[in-house]
């Protein structure tokens, strides 16, 4: 195999493993330098004609590059923790935060359970907006978690299956969540309810909660390849 074809195989293999372009180009450049050094040292063209006999097969180098790149980050060394356990735990925490914000916002508008002080106009407006706000408190954490974990997967260059597994977990947990909030009015107390369960047929909100992380995952798989800048920028000697 010629050196150009071998280097191209390394380049293609690394890109297929979703390693960043800058990282791949640096690796290929150094391998090319290494071959030139070998040729100069041995005064033979063997290194250029059969690079895999001396430097290793292209697949071996791609596997080493992919493995070493993943080892740089905690998420690469422990993908089960980062892309299975963490997404499962992150959603309840994010939902607790978003529901707290909703309750805080309602109180700020004068909907305190003990003594609501909101005007009739505010009350009417808030009642109209409430379903959207409740849906937002459920869907926003799902979107934030899906984007964050997909970006982490792209940065770590882990296998596609981890990103898909993570999005599937977010879709299942997210799709099963439902919540209801009622505002207090004179004579009645407000309430917040949160739980898991799927009605048949599922509500449009739950379908959206299920589909959105999957769509984000597919989109990130499509655009994420080779978009991460290399972290191993080489400085020039002064």
């Amino acid at each position: 195999m010629s050196v150009q074809r071998w280097l191209e195989e390394v380049r293609t293999g690394c890109r297929r493993r979703r390693l960043p372009s800058a990282y791949v180009e640096r690796l290929v450049g150094e391998l090319s330098d290494h071959l030139t050094d070998l040729m100069e040292d041995t005064m033979s063209m063997e290194a250029f004609e059969r690079p895999s006999t001396l430097l290793g097969s292209a697949s071996e180098i791609v596997a080493a590059a992919s493995s070493e790149y993943r080892r740089r980050r905690f998420s690469g060394r422990h993908p089960w923790l980062a892309f299975v356990i963490a997404p499962t735990l992150s959603l309840p925490i994010l939902w607790a935060g978003s529901l707290s914000l909703l309750i805080f916002g309602a109180k700020a508008l004068g909907f305190a359970s003990e003594s609501p002080t909101a005007t009739a106009e505010t009350s009417h407006w808030a009642t109209q907006m409430l379903p959207f706000a409740v849906f937002g408190t459920l869907i926003l954490p799902i979107v934030v978690a899906a984007v964050a974990f997909c970006l982490l997967a792209v940065k770590t260059a882990v296998s596609r299956r981890w990103m898909l597994a993570c999005c599937l977990i977010l879709a299942i947990v997210g799709g099963a969540a439902n919540s209801s909030v009622s505002l207090p009015s004179p004579g009645t107390k407000g309430s917040v309810a949160f739980g898991f369960g799927v009605s048949l047929p599922p509500s449009p909100q739950q379908i959206a909660q299920f589909l959105l992380p999957l769509l984000i995952g597919c989109w990130m798989l499509h655009v994420g390849q080779g978009t991460v800048a290399s972290e191993s920028g080489i400085r020039s000697a002064p």
Partner: protein, 119 residues
């Protein structure tokens, strides 16, 4: 000639130690590192030479090495140096390696006792 395969044991922490040891003495580029490892081990350590670069890149990202582009032997090359953190990691790696090697040697020497006890 058959394609050269990596020695799995070599790829399990040992290359890091050898690389850090060599670079703690003086700065080198990738080709020099490979030649130094081969010469230092009397060609006993067989590995795909190209696999050294991903390891160098990871060590650099962990702050154990620095990489600079320098003019060496008439060409611009990436030259690696061991950092203070790299030297600390090297000391720890050598200590671990000696402990494990001693334990393995001890176990090999004491193998007869185990057999006689079981007999």
């Amino acid at each position: 000639m058959a394609e050269r395969k990596s020695n799995p044991a070599f790829l399990n922490g040992v290359p890091e130690m050898l690389i850090l040891q060599l670079l703690s003495r003086h700065a080198m580029h990738g080709y020099e590192i490979v030649q130094a490892i081969k010469a230092g081990s009397n060609d006993e350590l067989e590995f795909g030479e190209g696999c050294i670069y991903p390891i160098l890149h990871r060590l650099e990202s962990e702050g154990l090495l620095t990489a600079t582009k320098e003019l060496a032997s008439g060409r611009t090359r990436v030259v690696y140096r061991c950092t203070r953190r790299g030297k600390a990691r090297l000391a720890k790696s050598i200590s671990n390696w000696r402990r494990i090697a001693d334990a393995v040697n001890l176990s090999l020497e004491g193998g007869g006792h185990v057999r006689s006890a079981l007999a």
